[in-house]
Symmetry: C2
Subunit: 581 residues, 2 copies
Amino acid sequence: MKASQFLISTLKEAPADAEVVSHQLMTRAGMIKKLGAGIYNYMPMGLRVVRKVEAIVREEMNRAGAVELTMPVVQPAELWQETGRFDKMGPEMMRIRDRHGRDFVIQPTSEEVVTDIARQELRSYKQLPKNLYQIQTKFRDERRPRFGLMRGREFVMKDAYSFDRDQTSAKASYQVMAAAYRRIFDRFGLTYRAVAADSGAIGGDLSEEFQVIAATGEDAIVYCPNSDYAANIEKAEALAPTQSRPAASQPLTQVPTPSKTACADVAILLGVPLQQTVKSIVLATDQLNEQGEIVKSQVWLLLLRGDHEMNEIKVAKVPGLDQGFRFASTAEIVEHFGCEPGYLGPLTLQKPVKLVVDREVAVLADWICGANVVDLHTTGVNWGRDLPEPELVMDLRNVVAGDKSPDGQGELAIERGIEVGHVFYLGTKYSKAMNATFLAEDGKPAFFEMGCYGIGITRLPAAAIEQNHDERGIIWPDAIAPFTVVLCPITPDRFPAVKEAAEALYAQLLAEGIDVMLDDRGERPGAMFADWELIGVPHRITIGDRGLKEGVVEYQHRRDTTATKIATTDVLAHLKGQLGV
Amino acid sequence: MKASQFLISTLKEAPADAEVVSHQLMTRAGMIKKLGAGIYNYMPMGLRVVRKVEAIVREEMNRAGAVELTMPVVQPAELWQETGRFDKMGPEMMRIRDRHGRDFVIQPTSEEVVTDIARQELRSYKQLPKNLYQIQTKFRDERRPRFGLMRGREFVMKDAYSFDRDQTSAKASYQVMAAAYRRIFDRFGLTYRAVAADSGAIGGDLSEEFQVIAATGEDAIVYCPNSDYAANIEKAEALAPTQSRPAASQPLTQVPTPSKTACADVAILLGVPLQQTVKSIVLATDQLNEQGEIVKSQVWLLLLRGDHEMNEIKVAKVPGLDQGFRFASTAEIVEHFGCEPGYLGPLTLQKPVKLVVDREVAVLADWICGANVVDLHTTGVNWGRDLPEPELVMDLRNVVAGDKSPDGQGELAIERGIEVGHVFYLGTKYSKAMNATFLAEDGKPAFFEMGCYGIGITRLPAAAIEQNHDERGIIWPDAIAPFTVVLCPITPDRFPAVKEAAEALYAQLLAEGIDVMLDDRGERPGAMFADWELIGVPHRITIGDRGLKEGVVEYQHRRDTTATKIATTDVLAHLKGQLGV
């Protein structure tokens, strides 16, 4: 491609609403152009990246035996009503009515439609397993779209759905996809982790997220540097403490802690380690009647160490909290604790609550908690002496760096990531809801065992940039760069030899199948280099008159700080070496 | 691809709602699957065809210097309000509101968005000409979606938009696209015509439709078998008659024609040629005030020969009718003619009307028309004698087969076609409405001269089938077949040599880059052949045990009535010859 035939449009300044670096750089590099909140034009430069991502995904999905189809963007509501998701899904799902008043949705995913296809087309166990996928536009009406392609409203997703005859086969299909995803992410040339994720009500370990590692990532990833263990923070287990509880050594004492509502402040005031303090989190569950009205509520008290954070996914697995819970209202808190939030604790309650204790709290002695009186905390609290031994002791917290790895291979570390892929074993959730069956080997109808597998096609470039950029702009991995090589002739209008050499090299690289851009715009060298550093083409060849007279051109990788002189006769071989082709 | 890894799903019967052969065959061949009215899943077999169409279009668009981008499916209403199309477009345009109550449209085309991009990105004449295109999902909420992919609601279109500095350059850009379209349609391997189409208010000849010829086509195409002349029926000019008007030879006579309201019936009753009769068509135009209320109406009488059809596009160019017209109401007709429709004519009016006469009527003598009395016609009517010489004489009719070709190269013929592409010079319609300017060479802002260029990507396969099918199914041209070659081993489970030979040939063809399908499903030969004839793969190789023992396999093109024996050693060479590679 020659620049004069293309559309190159770079900006010095990022738009004011671009909060993250990928959004800033994609806009400045002319890759995307905002049309509305969370809605972007993929400009020619950006579309090239998206197409390369798509091509890699498609190749590996096909290699893994998946079959591509396309399901409509606009889908009739009926199927979504079968699974109940038409009503259950929030306003993120865009609903429309056609001219005849029929309801439709703009697809946020396609479980319903693909299950409808399967129940009609996959009639016999002989046709299984089958994995159907599409690379298609999706829409989610995010309340607050932001971060450019990271959390847009209209986006492209690769969504695949596997159909199997039984759990064993479904798990094998899942593993085929998990392996394909590793090949896909390897080919992208990004640093990533496949992390265990929560599999919700289904249980088991068949849920993995593919996280591109980036300091700016929204997700916390837990991993063990000595092993393969990796999980997202929701999923990562905090092992039961191995130490036993020390004996009580302090008397129960009430100490004034004026205006100190946070454990950290209390610890500083009292000169004790934060690990000695305990925070109280008050939840509530509601019992509803058939009309959906609250008949009865139950208040729960969760105790966690002051330095730990509650993990909602784990809390949602506590017996009694697993049907949904909410934070208690101030009125409920006052009713049960006789005190407003900030100084709460498990001692001296007004009304009984259900107590759930994190494993680490259960092994504390002489701990500190609120006294249920404003500006007052209690120190020297001890299980068995000051309150009964805890009955419900569970893992309620997020792991922290330094915790033991669940696989026993060392200590956990935490880094940030951007979720770009997800493989998930669905079981029969959708096939049962939609009565999707096939004839099993025994001649009887059986429900499909399903899995679903997503990759955020248009999110991936943003994640790649969050991971790979510097102050000058984007640094693309070769595999998904808009162009692999850019040729920069210096003032070719003044030096016919430069123009000629650039055109000749361009033709030569094209003939070798190298994705090359010739910048024939005639820009000043500084502006030209700045453009290509912003756009992030990984390999640059600069052709100047002085160099040509010496028989050299200059090669510079986007990550190099200086250029290397290469004999004009060696350029192709050098480039091929750099590209690994 | 092996059939066992793919999704093949053929049906014996077409669905009841499939009115046209392409809809029937695409459904039966498992290429599309209806999800709702006018909304289809592109099943794996159909998607392969769509992808091949896309690839050819993309290659030729790129070759012609166009640059690909993608504009969102969901577009904010604001831009559509700038051109007034948000209100002007009917219910075909799907409108939605997001969770914040903002209006959006699902794109039916993208003139507004691309013009918005141009006015921001193309700032100088130095960046022009530029042609931006996308291959993207569109939605039109047709009142009565039907004919499968021929008139669906959700479909994929390639839409390109050119931006030029002046008319000369815009016309050159138009010609580049018109030439690219010829290459594209040549590559599809279909019989087509590029026909001149009406260019609406803009005038000039820069509007061509690309019509795939098919007996079932919705459009009438006029062409000259001796030349390149081709136009759609709306556009094709009926040349002025060369004969002069004969002298009057009959007296004006009123003849009873009880219950004969159609010219054809009158001609039969009176034993005269239909060409001697004249039909009266009564139109009306309205003058509106600022409130949009009708202030005054004018009634028009159009006279056409009894054997001719009125052409509404031509009528809309008559001075005075060019701002819109309607058919007159019965009340208006009775008021002016003193008679209800069926026996109308230009003589003895109650109130004056504006008269417009087709060129062929102007040269008639002794003609027949209604007498403005029920059950009565007038014969022997003559211009100048019975009524004044006509003042407004124009081409008002559709041409008919046998008319002289406008290029003087012989007589016109008419055939049917399916419009699959359109190239159109837009001028400054959108750039003026959206104030889209660039800095011209003289330093002043100038409006972009635009063109737009569409190809119905998902309509093309349907048109190809309307043109290429027989009683057994589809017959794909090589370029867009879902698979180019199918290998059909006969009972490979019983004959290991057959299975082995089929696998070996499959591997060999794959290695040659031939898009080959190996049917390894183990179906009975009859069912297997029926499937592939229905699906329409153009080249079939049958591998049987008996043949192998003789050292041959059988080759059959989908259009062949019998198979040809080919030595196993010659198969590749034979196939390459057939494929022209």
